[in-house]
């Protein structure tokens, strides 16, 4: 899929022109002309009264709810407002009416967590054509340059994949069978992380990835596939679950089956609030995550800055994100467009897990 990406991006760029008739941000990578002279941010560079639509994967995902709250806080600080809108199902189709609503309501910016990497592109393109700035977070959209958008990366994608493998390797002595318990098979961020995990695993010749299973972010399904995994691979040493539902389901199972927990080490991405009890009872030694609240907060500031013109998609453009400090737009690289990285993920263990309230 990556081979044809450039060609397709060019093609979609043409579409954006023909459809929108509006040229955005001077087509990013293809041209350096018209670089933003006001690259330096000013504290007052953000307009008041902005409306930012936050469109999470669905309205109930706890992780996203935390992020939305961060966004609300950001816009409150900036004198604007956040509208949260999405469907009940994790599907692109359920998000489209929300995008349409944002267009109808003349929103200034959209912050979206894509349920599908490309199904949302046509709608977002329309939004972009209507002058709405597009910011993606949590799970990126891959629309190329149409619309051109800023991705708020929770952590460097490669970092997440690599660090989780390292974390596990440290705990199991870099040897043994390992497996991955993921969310839905179609989840973009999951698949991207898994890709980097596989890459990193090549550095540990004695660690063997035996299986990747999908729990669809549903506790029951996660439990079923986990149990199947344990039956199939009695010598399994480690499980990486880069999804909050998966890791907490697995942790619950292991904490109740100490015999299994003795043999199998679990790590991945989890919410400290959910994982606290498992870290304390020793089921899980360490796991990581970033602060979803901060992620939303950063996305809110980024969206407001773009909408105010105080930041751009140009590589190196910087903007202030309230209490988080200043951020710089990174150059597009390997399938990811202009992006901003929140920071390295926090590793949680018994020493710090109590300090977080998300």
């Amino acid at each position: 899929m990556t081979i044809s990406r450039t060609a397709r991006r060019r093609a979609t760029a043409i579409l954006s022109l023909s459809v929108a008739g509006v040229m955005l941000a001077a087509c990013g990578s293809s041209s350096n002309a018209g670089s933003d002279p006001t690259g330096k941010p000013t504290a007052t560079g953000v307009k008041k009264g902005l409306t930012v639509y936050f469109i999470p994967k669905d309205t109930q995902n706890p992780y996203e709810v935390l992020a939305d709250q961060g966004g609300k806080k950001a816009l409150e600080e900036l004198g604007g407002k956040v509208v949260v809108s999405s469907g009940t199902a994790d599907t692109a189709a359920a998000q489209i009416p929300s995008i349409q609503t944002a267009i109808q309501k003349h929103a200034d910016a959209i912050v979206i967590a894509g349920n599908d990497p490309s199904a949302l592109c046509p709608s977002l393109n329309q939004a972009s054509a209507a002058g709405i700035k597009i910011v993606s977070f949590d799970s990126d959209i891959s629309c190329g340059t149409s619309p051109n958008h800023l991705f708020i990366n929770q952590a460097d994608t490669a970092d997440v994949g690599t660090s989780e493998v390292d974390l596990l390797a440290k705990q199991i002595g870099s040897t043994g069978q390992v497996a991955i318990l993921s969310a839905a098979a179609s989840a973009t961020n999951q698949n991207a992380w898994i890709g980097f995990m596989k890459k990193q695993l090549t550095k540990y010749p004695n660690m063997k990835l035996v299986s990747t299973v999908y729990g669809n972010d549903d506790p029951a399904t996660s439990l079923t596939v986990l149990q199947g995994l344990l039956s199939a691979y009695p010598n399994l040493k480690g499980i990486i679950s880069p999804t909050t539902v998966g890791i907490s389901t697995a942790a619950q199972y292991l904490s109740n089956h100490k015999d299994v927990a003795k043999k199998v080490t679990l790590t991945g991405l989890g919410l400290p609030s959910q994982m606290k009890s498992y870290v304390k009872d020793g089921t899980v030694k360490s796991f990581e995550l970033w602060n979803p609240n901060q992620l939303g907060y950063l996305a809110g500031y980024a969206a407001a800055s773009l909408a105010s013109g105080s930041a751009s998609l140009q590589t190196g453009s910087t903007f202030k994100a309230g209490t988080l400090g200043s951020y710089k737009v990174l150059a597009p690289a390997s399938g990811v467009g202009p992006s901003v990285v929140l920071g390295p993920p926090t590793v949680f263990d018994a020493s710090n897990v109590d300090k977080f309230n998300f």
Binding site: Q60, Q227, L230, Q252, K276
Partner: protein, 347 residues
């Protein structure tokens, strides 16, 4: 009315009966054999599969669907269907969890009772609408599926119940074993046994079969069909609510997705288990075994290192095979009875 009658039970042509009963029992037996076959085949491809742990997991994993299957069987036997069970599981699990979260010290046992009550309330709404308005239950419970899920969403509103909020003694049911058998499986087995026995042994439960077998004849026989169907929905709802509590106990966490899509899995399990979708026949044991078979296949695929992407296709194919097989069997039995009768008449 002499010697012949005083002789215990045996009826005039015991032989024919024996054949009929064997056919009936064959269904449960057949599923049992299928489960064993899947288990053995998986073990051959992956020797690690055959251990006590796997079996415990097979039982635990099937428990909730089997429990829902018990209630669903009672409803389907009356020629109705309850599609709202999945939503009920989600709602009752969340409410029970929420109560634990906000009232630490809430009695653990009451947690289960609360789940049952929530389910019973929704079940009685289903039953009431179906019986009083005579709107087909397919539509009523489909609407309830939407409504209950919506209410659940409004209540949950993006929150989750974390494991820390739930008393350890509540979740124990989800993992403790007794003599190596998971408690969850024991509870469901007891429910299956009790309801299964009741479905055979009480007048009211035989009425359920009569209603599904021939509604017109049931009303001519003076069976209070409305009250019975209502009760079936009530029990189905109550068991779904109970399953919600157990869901919470098993997973120790709940958000809005809990129980989503269970309705179709349950109906599949029940039909695979030999319960006729148009009522009149089928057993609770069959339904529970159907659930166990589906779960065994799911876990076997992972264990046999076949991609879990095959799960759904196999479940669908199995359901189709089951109903096609039932029809074939039914035709065969009818034909053999008919020709036997012809011979009997001619003689």
């Amino acid at each position: 009315m002499t010697a012949q009658l005083t002789a215990p039970a045996p009826a005039p042509d015991t032989e024919r009966f024996a054949r009929g009963a064997a056919l009936l029992r064959a269904r449960e037996l057949g599923i049992g054999v299928a489960i064993v076959l899947v288990f053995v085949a998986t073990t051959i491809s992956n020797h690690a599969f055959a251990n006590a742990h796997s079996i415990q997991q097979l039982l635990t994993g099937a428990a909730l669907i089997a429990l829902l299957g018990v209630g669903e069987t009672m409803v389907i036997v009356t020629r109705n269907v309850d599609l709202s069970v999945g939503s009920v599981v989600g709602l009752s699990a969340y409410i029970v969890g929420d109560v634990f979260k906000h009232h630490s010290g809430f009695p653990v046992l009451l947690g289960y009772v609360l789940g049952i009550v929530i389910g019973a309330v929704i079940g009685s709404i289903n039953g009431l609408i179906t019986v009083v308005t005579r709107v087909p239950s397919l539509v009523v419970t489909l609407a309830m599926l939407y409504i209950v899920r919506g209410v659940d969403g409004v209540i949950v509103n993006g929150k989750t119940i974390d494991p820390a909020a739930i008393p350890k003694s509540f979740t124990e049911v989800g993992y403790r074993t007794f003599l190596g058998v998971p408690w969850l499986a024991i509870i469901v087995a007891v429910v299956v046994a009790v309801v299964g026995y009741a479905m055979r042994s009480f007048r009211a439960s035989r009425d359920l079969y009569a209603i599904g077998s021939n509604p017109e004849a049931a009303s001519l026989a003076g069976i209070p069909a409305g009250r019975r169907v209502f009760t079936a929905f009530l029990i189905s709802g109550a068991l779904a609510g109970f399953a919600g509590s157990l869901f919470l106990a098993l997973h120790a966490q709940i958000d809005v997705t809990g129980g989503n899509g269970y309705e179709l899995t349950v109906v599949s399990a029940v039909v695979v288990g030999g319960v006729a979708i148009f009522g009149g026949s089928g057993t609770v044991l069959g339904a529970a075994l159907g659930a166990l078979l589906l779960n065994t296949i799911n876990q076997a695929l992972v264990a046999a290192k076949i991609s879990s992407f095959w799960n759904e296709a196999i479940a669908g194919g199995l359901l189709l095979a089951a109903i096609a097989f039932d029809r074939w069997l039914g035709l065969r039995v009818a034909r053999s009875l008919q020709s036997a009768q012809g011979a009997h008449r001619d003689a």
